[in-house]
């Protein structure tokens, strides 16, 4: 069979057999550990707590309540079934008008109502994953490159490059200025690319940032716009976390920035989604909003490859056009995220761990540099293994986000209940305490080197998971999809 397999393998495309999907990296070890020993408050209290999953699980109760009160939002209930036929055959790639209106309203609201979004410019896609890939197909050709400020969402390497044939040129940002994107860094990266004969077609940023959890300030945004304008290249803004902002400074959409700037609007494109703001990654709602008519039209045709299910469009149209609900949801979500963020960051502060000051996202950027035995990626990975194996927390190492400085970790906080938060904090406290007790802070790293750093997989205690394996990995997490996902039925 091996011979035949190899023979057939040559008949596949390069894309099918290369590694540019990014999933064969060592980082899935963390997921292995989690999958084989997942935490459960009663059935497996010693298991690994999932903190590598950027999901927003804090506000489902609000949505469930709305669903109960609005049975006609479903085309399958008695109240809504008279719409079933029309919706079931609706595959128009323009999307349901009411759905687009709801999305446009939400985007406007999330941007502080300082911009109006045109529903006729809203283009659907298969989640933000599909949106980012589609935008790349529209803007660049194989061999072209996009500048991406680091640290950046790990799956960009798949979404932007895999099937498109594009390259990523990272723009390194440093902690010395809180990872701000500077004009200098952009210019440097651009020039370096030019010297290597790499054709840079644009810049892509995430605002708010994953993994930093920070929002871009006006000055940086204006600088970005002026940079792309000068070079006649594109600017793609992934605003997927826009409504996860829970404190000041407020979120500013790129749409607002260009209102007051003299720039070529054909260069500006926004990617959006409901996966983080509303906590609905399963519904696959990705949005492309381009100010460029040709890109908009091209992306719309490409949306045939990833339309949003009309059943889902219909449901969300009803929900998002309920302005009272949306207003209440956004306010409440911010509150809960703020509270959760506060509990964690204060808890960490108390044991001497600092985090990057942030006010958005579903995670914080944790600074473990003082605990590294040396400032190298290798040391970071060693520490990461200890955190997974000993502390039993699945967090994401900064290197998986291409961070140029070792020692940073992304820790997700919105995908668990309050009790689990306390358990996680307790484990961290214990771990830091142990280190202090032994030989003082500077000895902590020596202490760990003595540990057996090999991962242990204790598969004996797996709790009975629900039919849907709710701990599935978000494509927006830096860790590749675990190949160990098991079918449960």
């Amino acid at each position: 069979m091996e011979f035949t397999r190899n023979n057939n393998r040559q008949l596949l495309s390069k894309i099918a057999t290369n590694d540019r999907h990014g999933e064969n990296t060592p980082y899935f070890e963390g997921w292995k550990a989690y999958d084989s020993n997942p935490f459960h408050p009663t059935q497996n209290p010693q298991g690994v707590i999932q903190m590598g999953l950027a999901e927003n699980q804090l506000c489902f109760d609000l949505i469930e309540k709305w669903l109960l009160e609005n049975p006609d939002a479903s085309i399958c209930t008695a109240e809504g079934v008279d719409r079933f036929r029309d919706i079931a055959i609706f595959q128009d790639y323009h999307g349901l008008k009411e759905f687009r209106q709801g999305i446009a309203k939400l985007m406007g609201r999330v941007g502080g109502n300082r911009v109006k979004f045109d529903p006729n410019r809203i283009v659907m896609s298969g989640g933000a994953t599909g949106a980012n890939e589609t935008v790349m197909f529209c803007l660049a050709d194989p061999g072209d490159a996009f500048l991406v400020p680091s640290p950046y969402y790990a799956a960009f390497s798949r979404d932007l490059r895999w099937r498109t044939g594009l390259e990523i040129v990272p723009v390194d940002c440093k902690s010395s200025n809180n990872f701000r994107i500077t004009r200098t860094a952009l210019e440097e990266a651009y020039e370096k690319a030019q010297r290597s004969n790499i054709n840079v077609k644009g810049v892509i940023i995430a605002n708010p940032s994953n993994p930093l959890g920070t929002v871009l300030d006006k000055e940086t945004m204006r600088s970005l716009v002026s940079f792309v304008n000068d070079k006649s290249i594109h600017l793609v803004c992934d605003e997927i976390y826009a409504a996860t902002v829970f404190g000041s400074p407020r979120f500013i959409s790129i749409a607002e920035i260009i209102q007051d700037m003299d720039c070529n609007r054909d260069l500006i494109h926004i990617v959006y989604s409901l996966s983080k703001d509303m906590g609905l990654p399963g519904f696959r709602v990705g949005i492309i909003y381009s100010f460029n008519d040709d890109v908009m039209n091209c992306a719309r045709k490409m949306s045939s490859f990833g339309l949003v299910s009309s059943q889902t469009q219909f449901l969300l149209a009803a929900m998002l056009n309920d302005e009272e609900f949306v207003g209440n949801f956004l306010r409440e979500s911010s509150k809960r995220l703020a509270k959760r963020h506060h509990v964690f960051t204060k808890g960490l502060e108390r044991v001497g761990i600092s985090t990057l000051k942030s006010n958005a996202g579903l995670f914080f950027w944790m600074d473990m540099r003082p605990l590294l035995k040396e400032q190298t990626v290798q040391a970071e990975i060693e520490l990461w293994r200890v955190i997974i194996n000993k502390v039993k927390l699945n967090v994401s190492p900064g290197s998986s986000f291409q961070c140029s400085e070792p020692g940073w970790f992304r820790v997700c906080f919105a995908n668990m209940d309050d009790e689990t938060v306390q358990v996680a904090l307790e484990r961290i406290r214990e771990f830091m305490h142990q280190g202090k007790e032994e030989d003082g802070v500077s000895e902590k790293s020596k202490h760990w080197r003595k540990q057996n750093l090999r991962l242990s997989f204790s598969s004996s205690r797996l709790y009975n998971e629900s039919l849907m394996s709710p701990h599935m990995i978000s494509p927006h997490s830096p860790i590749p999809q675990s190949p160990l996902v098991r079918a449960r039925t």
């Binding site: 008949l11 469930e64 399963g282 490859f305 339309l307 709710p470």
Partner: protein, 509 residues
């Protein structure tokens, strides 16, 4: 036919200040890649027209006419009747009644408990296990349970549109080609070629043998690809065929298996219409043929892939449910990762897993659906006959492949377009000209029947009858019409009388 020139649907302004990708230029060059059909919103993917001479405006106008003047039984009884849309609208009542009896599936509940949170979070590209299990069972049921499918080899995608493109990304790249028998679904030009860079080389099929694939045609296509310096990676067939409405014979399937074995290439069988086979011969899936020939676990076994969808069989195109089934684990693994770019909504997966797991329901649905399709088709065929128009004998699909060659003013594609325009403007029926499906012979049209009521169908046929009665066509002898196996047709002049068509001698078709 000469080199085809795609029609511009949109012009792309030449912008100096920024550059678009070559793909976008190809969009403009290639008539918006079937965009026209979808531009209009709710039509099938029909939109591309291959013709060296036809101005795009005329083509676009035909579709615009429908949009401006759509038929409605009550509101607009003189409007244009849509017969270019391959949708199955005959069995919604069965789905609706199932929904009424199964409120949990509709409301994110299982056994009375809310599972909303789990579904809202579920984005695993391996798909909902319950849904995949139900789907493979349904696929087996459609095939009379003569084959069984393994749920671990199914990859869920956003419609067959995404499935076909994804398979191309897995199996081929720029410089490669897939061979497709003509006539074929126009959407393939976009789905298989656009973003992948893969080329399509046609396998010419003709009416001389009911458009079946021949060994000679396969070889000719293969050679043609080589002459163009294209590396042939496989063959893609649609079985049952769109636009023919026929199921492939076992001989054809055997021929294909032999061909791909000999050439060491892939075979993709798009079986999106497999559930619409309403009369004999029974549907034979490529998997059945492989099984019967004991080819399981061989090299060729792993080079056969199936595409499926619920858009036609269940009439749910809006839900975007497609699937790839492959015997090659590497293809399954790669396609699974790629499905991230177009997953099926978990809300929809859950609803359909409940529906398709209800075996009593699926059995009843399949049987009733077949009956209704068959009935509707017979009405179309009878109506066409009354208008002196024949069609290819068919046993599947949501359309008929209609022979209007005798109504052409000349045996050319220009004449086909002229006739098409008259049918759209004067007869007020929107049907699809064969040239849009890359048919090598002018005069064939695809006419859909499953997206309208019986009354609307009746009216459409009446209009057609009146039209045929009123035009002067080239006369043909009776002999000529009967002898459809001849390769070369001589032109005859034939003038129809204004008498009722009931008086006219009917041809055997």
């Amino acid at each position: 036919m000469g080199d085809a020139v795609l029609i511009f649907v949109e012009s792309l302004e030449n912008k100096e200040t920024w550059k678009v990708s070559k793909l976008e230029e190809r969009v403009a060059d290639k008539g918006g890649s079937m965009g026209l059909g979808q531009e209009r919103g709710h039509m099938d993917h029909f939109g591309i027209l291959y013709s060296p001479k036809l101005a795009w405006t005329r083509f676009a106008v035909g579709w615009q006419e429908y949009e401006k003047n759509p038929y409605d039984e009550v509101e607009n009884p003189r409007g244009i009747i849509q017969m270019g849309l391959a949708e199955n609208q005959l069995s919604f009542d069965l789905l609706e009644s199932w929904l009424a009896k199964n409120p949990d599936a509709a409301s994110f509940r299982r056994d009375g408990q809310s599972i909303f949170k789990e579904l809202a979070l579920f984005q695993d590209y391996h798909g909902l296990p319950a849904f995949k299990n139900a789907l493979v069972d349904f696929m087996a049921e459609i095939r009379g349970n003569k084959v069984k499918f393994d749920p671990s080899r199914i990859v869920l995608t956003a419609g067959a549109t995404s499935a076909n493109e994804t398979l191309m990304f897995c199996l081929a790249e720029q410089g490669d080609a897939f061979l497709l028998p003509t006539p074929y679904y126009p959407g393939f030009d976009r789905d298989l070629k656009w973003r992948t860079g893969v080329e399509i080389v046609p396998i010419q099929c003709t009416s001389s043998n009911r458009f079946q694939i021949t060994a000679a045609a396969l070889e000719e296509a293969y050679e043609q690809a080589q002459r163009k310096n294209l590396r042939v990676k496989g063959v893609l067939v649609t079985n049952p065929s769109n636009p023919l409405g026929t199921t492939m014979t076992r001989d054809e399937l055997d021929l294909l298996v032999n061909f791909i074995t000999d050439k060491e290439i892939h075979l993709i069988s798009d079986e999106i219409y497999s559930g619409t086979v309403f009369s004999s011969p029974a549907f034979v899936s490529i998997m059945e043929v492989l099984k019967d020939r004991n080819l399981g676990k061989t090299e060729v076994w792993e080079r056969v892939h199936i595409v499926y969808s619920l858009s036609k069989d269940l009439g749910l195109p809006g839900f975007r449910v497609g699937a790839i089934y492959s015997n090659d684990p590497i293809v399954v693994a790669a396609a699974t990762k790629m499905s991230s770019f177009g997953l099926v909504s978990s809300q929809t997966q859950y609803l359909l897993s409940a529906m398709l797991s209800d075996k009593k329901f699926t059995k009843e649905y399949i049987a009733k659906n077949h009956k209704r399709l068959q009935k509707q088709r017979s009405k179309l065929v009878a109506g066409l006959e009354k208008a002196g128009i024949g069609c290819l004998e068919s046993n599947a699909g949501l359309f008929c492949w209609v022979d209007m060659r005798h109504l052409l003013s000349s045996d050319t594609f220009e004449a086909e377009m002229e006739l098409w325009k008259r049918i759209v403007y004067d007869v007020k029926l929107n049907i699809s000209p064969g040239s849009s499906c890359h048919c090598s012979e002018p005069g064939w049209f695809r006419v859909c029947f499953a997206n309208m009521s019986e009354d609307t169908l009746k009216l459409a046929m009446q209009r057609l009858k009146c039209f045929v009665g009123s035009i002067a066509v080239k006369e043909r002898t009776h002999q000529e019409l009967k002898n459809s196996r001849r390769k070369f047709r001589t032109k005859w002049v034939f003038r129809l009388s204004f008498q009722s068509f009931h008086d006219r001698e009917q041809d055997e078709r």
